[in-house]
């Protein structure tokens, strides 16, 4: 008994509480951002097609995502008789879980100072942050795969297979393009990478333009966004892997896609565009709290730009054919990423000599 209480007392409960609050805030913020991404997507699509877009629910249609979500919640929940029920329910849950887990290692800003306590605006500063993101993103394939398989529908299964093979193919090029970046930064921790960029004043995209381009293309493919949205190809696969899904289970799949978009925008901004770094501003001269808030705003603006880019591309170009997709992934992006890695390695070696 004495031992237990000693353990309980030794535990830093304040730290736990602080992290718990941070987790709640960050997860709910990513959910809200994903909600408004759906709104923005419809708006951007409309603007690009010379329309106005949703503008009836609330001022400027601000309440549209709530209406959409409410609609999905009140729809009839259908679980097909022939499906594997456990896996059928597990699928959207896994997709959502994998999408939300990635936001744990992203440094949203520097730190806040409340008296003596310093609050890092990051859930966990693990020293293998990028590896963690890669691992969790790969888990996202399970959501698609399990959902498609459990539906017991050939179209869903084909779409799921497509999704899985696409994600795996593009993860390779993505990983290799990142290795080149890691040669430069020398660290896998997201916060270290950002701080390095802040110290140098030069963002990684300047050193690694090709690497960024490859990463961007692969991020599009990983999020199943146009032009790589083959798993959702309506014309050939009816609806894609979520064909049998209805109600909020379908909503979760769609939602997971938008969260993925948000997180991959955040990752791109962190790795290549200086994260919460504000260009031409020396953060160390400001009070820590002010710097943190300015950094957060800068980070959100960068994320917003990338989200807009995702939508901009989606409403501009049509999707690839499946063989084109595989050609691009294996015959173009992978060799390019390898060359990029080798050249970076050679240059780094030469510079260190």
């Amino acid at each position: 008994m004495i031992n237990l209480s000693a353990v309980l007392l030794a535990f830093d409960w304040g730290f736990l509480l602080q992290k718990l609050i941070l987790i709640i805030i960050i997860v709910s913020v990513s959910l809200v951002v994903a909600m408004y991404e759906t709104y923005l997507e419809r708006k951007v699509a409309a603007w690009m097609q010379d329309r106005i877009g949703p503008n009836r629910a609330g001022p400027f249609g601000i309440l549209q995502p709530i209406a959409d979500g409410g609609k999905l919640f009140f729809k009839e929940e259908i679980i097909p008789n022939t499906s594997n029920k456990t896996l059928f329910v597990l699928g959207p849950g896994l997709a959502m879980l994998a999408a939300l887990m990635t936001c744990a290692v992203i440094p949203w800003s520097s730190h806040l100072q409340f008296g003596d306590t310093t609050v890092q605006l990051q859930i966990a500063d693990v020293n293998i942050g990028i590896l963690y993101i890669f691992g969790v993103v790969s888990l996202g394939v399970y959501g698609i795969m399990i959902g498609g398989w459990a539906s017991n529908n050939k179209f869903s299964l084909m779409a799921a297979l497509r999704g899985a093979s696409q994600a795996i193919s593009y993860e390779l090029a993505m990983g290799i393009s990142l290795i080149a970046l890691l040669f430069i930064t020398g660290s896998l921790s997201m916060r270290t990478i950002v701080e390095e960029q802040m110290k140098n004043g030069i963002w990684n995209v300047v050193y690694q333009p090709l690497g960024f381009l490859i990463f961007l293309v692969c991020a599009f493919a990983e999020c199943n966004r146009t032009p790589f949205d083959l798993p959702e190809a309506e014309s050939e696969l009816n609806m894609g892997y979520h064909q049998e899904y209805s109600s909020m289970k379908l909503g979760f799949y769609l939602f997971a896609e938008y969260i993925n978009m948000f997180i991959s925008s955040a990752v791109m901004a962190t790795l290549f565009f200086g994260g919460y770094d504000v260009p031409f501003l020396d953060e160390s001269t400001l009070a820590p709290n002010v710097a943190a808030i300015i950094g957060l705003i800068a980070f959100m603006i960068k994320i917003g730009f990338f989200i807009f880019l995702f939508m901009w591309v989606r409403w501009t170009i049509p999707r690839f054919r499946y063989d084109q997709l595989m050609n691009l992934g294996w015959k173009k992006l992978l060799p390019l990423a390898l060359v990029n890695m080798l050249v970076t390695a050679a240059v780094m070696l030469w510079l260190h000599k």
């Binding site: 010379d50 106005i52 170009i317």
Partner: protein
């Protein structure tokens, strides 16, 4: 064939050059185009608040006309029903009684006059066939409804308001009030 516009472009099957095969420059071109559309004027008309202006020759819902003293012009001659290619018009004639001279213009009038708006194709042949200027097509569209029955418009639905007893409603129906059916708001 002679080209009617200067917009047609022959199909180009030449092999792609290096820049086109790079794919990305072409994507950027496309993205510039969509970006330009972002700032273009939107084609949307915000329907219940704004209404599209009808053409001068628009053929909308039918109206049964009255003369300047407020008497019904229709004599139930049946020419409109005969002219109607969709057979949407039916009517029953009746003889004008003594003391009804302020109601009906001629000795014969339509006791019943029905147009089935689901059958009507709004061709305007009834308007052209009418020797008495009694039926014409207005600048409104038939509103949606849930029951088929509601689309059979009776004489009461079709008659224009009496210019003597209810001049305001009459003026409104004639579209004399400025901008009544017209596009409101800015475009």
């Amino acid at each position: 064939m002679q080209s009617l516009t200067n917009r047609n472009k022959p199909v180009d099957r030449a092999p792609m050059n290096f820049w086109e095969r790079l794919y990305l420059p072409e994507i950027f071109k496309g993205m510039i185009i969509t970006l330009r559309h972002l700032f273009k004027r939107k084609a949307t008309i915000q329907y219940p608040e704004q209404k599209r202006e009808f053409s001068r020759v628009w053929r909308g819902l039918h109206v049964l006309n009255r003369d300047e003293e407020g008497r019904e012009r229709c004599t139930a001659c049946g020419l409109c029903a005969l002219a109607c290619p969709a057979e949407a018009i039916t009517m029953e004639a009746a003889e004008r009684e003594l003391g009804e001279e302020n109601l009906y213009r001629e000795e014969k009038y339509a006791a019943k006059y029905e147009i089935n708006m689901l059958r009507c194709i709004f061709c305007g042949l009834c308007e052209e066939a009418c020797p008495k200027d009694a039926v014409y097509l207005s600048e409104t569209v038939a509103p949606a409804d849930y029951a088929r029955k509601k689309f059979i418009y009776t004489k009461e639905d079709l008659l224009i308001p009496n210019p003597v007893t209810e001049p305001e409603a009459y003026a409104k129906a004639k579209g004399l009030e400025p901008n009544e059916n017209r596009l409101t708001g800015k475009r």
